[in-house]
Amino acid sequence: MHSISVRDLTLNFGSHAVLKTMNLDVAEGEFIVLLGPSGCGKSTLLNCIAGLLDISDGEIWIKGQNVTWAEPSERGIGMVFQSYALYPQMTVRGNLSFGLKNARMPKAEIESRVARAAKILQIEPLLDRKPGALSGGQRQRVAIGRALVRDVDVFLFDEPLSNLDAKLRAELRVEIKRLHSRLNNTMVYVTHDQIEALTLADRIAVMKGGVIQQLDAPQVIYNRPANLFVAGFIGSPAMNFLPGAVVDGGRSFRLGEHSIALEGYDGRAVDLPRAILGLRPEHIAIATDPRPGTSLPAVVELDEPMGADSLVWLKAAGQQMSVRVPVERRLEPGTPVYLHLDLPKASLFDAATEQRI
């Protein structure tokens, strides 16, 4: 049984389709991250699952129940918002127990649930404070607690860490991951931050224009992007794209006057007049000597030391490229070098359809 099942979900705002016949199955206990640029429909999808938005067509199932027309509170979900959305006039205790009181739960039960959530999130000393007297990290903990006390199987997170500074964000990210492994409930997490997506997710759904572009494990998304958009969106610094053509029955890639042998690339063997070769900066090595068939001459333009490693910008075959090297390796601008390409880890795209070959 799927924990959440979205079937043919369509949402129109007027004549504009925000979500287009979307299908998504989330397994029990799975951590799914919806990732995409702003306006891609990821938050909208989450709001539809929560029941905060009425959908135009399709079905939503949670825990084997068709909840398409159910109220948010009847769906067995807890939700955490970007702006924390704590009730300002209530204490932390009041915030945590508000939903339980609405459900007319016995007082003793409410108290034990609040105490348990406060213990898990380590907010016990804050219970009698108002949200105004809390820091951002504490507020978001309380917001998570409000979902926790509901004792539901499905947690929905709507960019929960976006309002926090970098240090707190990293801390809470770990905490959310720990919470997931402890509670083992289903989590759907919306973010535009790929680090959050790659670190937290069991599977990532990369979205654009109301359509899921690729739904897979983070490693697969990173190493074998399904199309040009996913390849360009994931990874920082971004993947290098080299436009050219696939020739020799799919055995080599022509880039201007250079020819690169597609050794070890596991794609289909077809010729394509317009193709794009994608290589991540860490899948290229800088050497002084050429390597026949899989190297490109290049000229160093700039290097950016980034602490742990260093990013070198070069010009090769008329294209700007970036390569990740150890920080100790300093390269003077203007130095001619050879780029050794790790082709088994490359991605090849059809320039017309933008799909992976």
Binding site: P72, S73, A85, Y87, F98, N102, A143
Partner: protein, 297 residues
């Protein structure tokens, strides 16, 4: 070479009697005097006896302070056949203002809440029509309302006037509340829905407690507006239920006998006291509420 140790150091000295300050405070002082002078004249006149007033020195302070005009204005001044002063009008006004204020604010708050957070099909149109109501001159509607009130049998009663005040307060108050609730973060509303609160639950337990400033604004607007209302009061009530303003007019404009300026001044001051007190108690909140409501349209 100049002695570098003698350079300026520490806080920069400020001149209190600078040209800018003299201009600023001078103008403020003149304007204050200009606005306070009439009030001063009213207060001193109300504390003088008639012989002293006849001397004609309206700016001079009272030689012999007497509270007799105040007593007379409150308890003895005659309007028509009744000679029990403004007290009757005062209590009428209280009976009109309190239910009108409570009713109009309650209805408008719910209106604004529904229009901003529970957007239904046609909500914008509905709101636009309501706002148009604020721009139609009252005079156009006076006679039709007389007929409506007569038909439903409450013409001339206090409740008829309460109804009229509630209706006429609706456009501006709804606008006020709608804009205020629009500025409430939407996620708060969503969180409350996930927590299982319904239409009234969210309104009463989340929205109302965080809306004190806007309720104060509405309170001041309505108390002042309804207390000071003359037109509706004179049209929709009968002499024994006249509000204070109408009675004040009848006292001040009575053509019989000697004009008792001191009584008139005292009566006017008495009538203006209620809005003034409300403003002084809640003025700070008023400014905050107006600013908050203005953030988002």
């Amino acid at each position: 070479m100049a002695d570098l140790t003698k350079g300026p150091r520490g806080a920069k000295p400020r001149k209190i009697l600078s040209r800018r300050n003299i201009m600023l405070y001078g103008i403020l002082f003149v304007i204050s005097v200009y606005y306070l002078l009439p009030l001063y004249v009213m207060v001193v006149t109300s504390l003088k006896g008639m012989p002293e007033i006849r001397l004609g020195n309206i700016f001079s302070p009272p030689v012999e302070i007497t509270f007799q005009p105040w007593v007379k204005a409150w308890a003895q001044a005659c309007t028509g056949l009744n000679c029990d002063g403004l007290s009757r009008g005062f209590w009428n006004s209280v009976q009109i203002t309190v239910p009108s204020v409570i009713l109009s604010i309650a209805v408008a708050a719910v209106n604004g809440y529904a229009l901003s957070l529970w957007k239904f099909r046609g909500a914008e149109t509905f709101f636009a029509i309501l706002i148009v109501g604020a721009f139609i001159p009252y005079q156009v509607m006076i006679y039709p309302i007389v007929i409506i009130l007569r038909e439903i049998g409450i013409y001339g009663t206090l409740w008829g006037l309460v109804l009229v005040h509630t209706i006429f307060g609706m456009p501006i108050l709804t606008l006020l509340f709608r804009n205020y609730f629009s500025s409430v973060p939407e996620e708060l509303f969503k969180a409350a829905r996930v927590d299982g609160a319904g239409f009234w639950g969210i309104f009463l337990r989340i929205m109302v407690p965080m809306s004190l400033p806007i309720f104060v604004v509405a309170l001041i607007l309505q108390v002042t507006g309804i207390w000071n209302d003359f037109l509706f009061g004179v049209i929709y009530t009968r002499p024994d239920t006249y509000p204070m303003t109408v009675q004040l007019n009848n006292i001040v404009n009575s053509v019989q006998g000697v004009k008792e300026y001191n009584v008139n001044m005292a009566a006017t001051l008495l009538t203006g006291l209620v809005p003034l007190i409300i403003y002084f108690i809640s003025g700070k909140l008023f400014v905050r509420g107006i600013a908050a409501g203005a953030v988002k349209g």
